[in-house]
Symmetry: C2
Subunit: 156 residues, 2 copies
DNA sequence: TATGGTGAGTTTGGATTTCCTACTCACCGG
DNA sequence: CCGGTGAGTAGGAAATCCAAACTCACCATA
């Protein structure tokens, strides 16, 4: 019989196993902002130094960041996003927009991103095929691994 | 003087404070799939029951889930996403796509989402104003709170 | 009416992580 | 030589996590 104990196989879970630990996505935020030095990260994130060191190692190992020296003698390092890391930035933007909408009063947004088009960035997740915004009602899930089910959302 | 110890104020951090704990986003995944009952969640996520109970309380308190009885006598409950919860689904989709691209070989995707347009969902984060995909090079950050800086990403 | 089963948790006690403070080590500037 | 900065390590207390067992209410059946 199939495994009845294992959790559902899923790329969301896999992704979170890499970047879902505390501070990891904040590290990515800072690194994408161009603040990739250890002490900057400590200050801007508010993480304990040892935890930060652990996270950085992990993110480098995972191929999300690179560590490069910006100065030999004295050796000084800087972390930067890889391509894979940069491709997580839209996730951060979407999450930030969600936070701005649901966690704050009015338009007290601590940070505004400007898009190259000249407007303030308001990220929208769309379907590549048809271009429409992704809405829950328009989605249907199909597990590719047998044994895993999705109940259609019983109508509200 | 300004606080030199506090971390950067940021909606990403605030959002993660709510949904960034282990399992929280997986709970949301299951609930969006329509699997909102406690034992389903335990099985599909693989979380310890006590942790799950804690997360559920937190997500309900935060207004991301609701708890509703689908049966009185015997009392049986089901968790469902609120509007705010549903609006996090695009984040999950984007994260899943990232995981599919970077964490898996070939097209071994454990789960495929079908969009109402008839195609397999490939989520793209776009700028609402101009419709273009969001790319790192096209963004410029502006902290709204003084004292916080962003270094322009020194050219690769 | 005893027997077993399900759903939805709570309890318990031990294994991991995280957190905080302090410390190191290398180098630089005066 | 002295103090300061960047990039971490070290050590122990505090918080979390985990698995398994337990509870409690109810239903099914025999």
């Amino acid at each position: 019989m199939a495994a009845t104990k294992d959790p559902r196989p899923c790329s969301i879970a896999d992704a979170l196993a890499l970047v879902g630990e505390k501070y990891s996505l904040l590290v990515l935020r800072e690194v994408c902002l161009g603040n990739g030095r250890f002490d900057q990260l400590v200050r801007n994130i508010g993480a304990p130094r040892d935890i930060l060191a652990t996270r950085l190692r992990r993110l480098v190992d995972a191929g999300i960041l690179t560590k490069r020296a910006y100065s030999e003698r004295p050796q000084r390092f800087e972390y930067r996003p890889t391509q894979a890391g940069l491709e997580l930035e839209p996730v951060l933007m979407t999450l930030m927009a969600w936070g701005d909408r649901h966690l704050r009063k009015d338009d007290d947004r601590p940070m505004v991103i400007e898009h190259v088009c000249g407007n303030e960035l308001a990220p929208v997740v769309t379907c590549r095929a048809c271009g429409d915004p992704v809405r829950h009602e328009d989605l249907a899930a199909h597990p590719q691994v047998s044994g895993w089910t999705v109940s259609g959302p019983s109508a509200a």
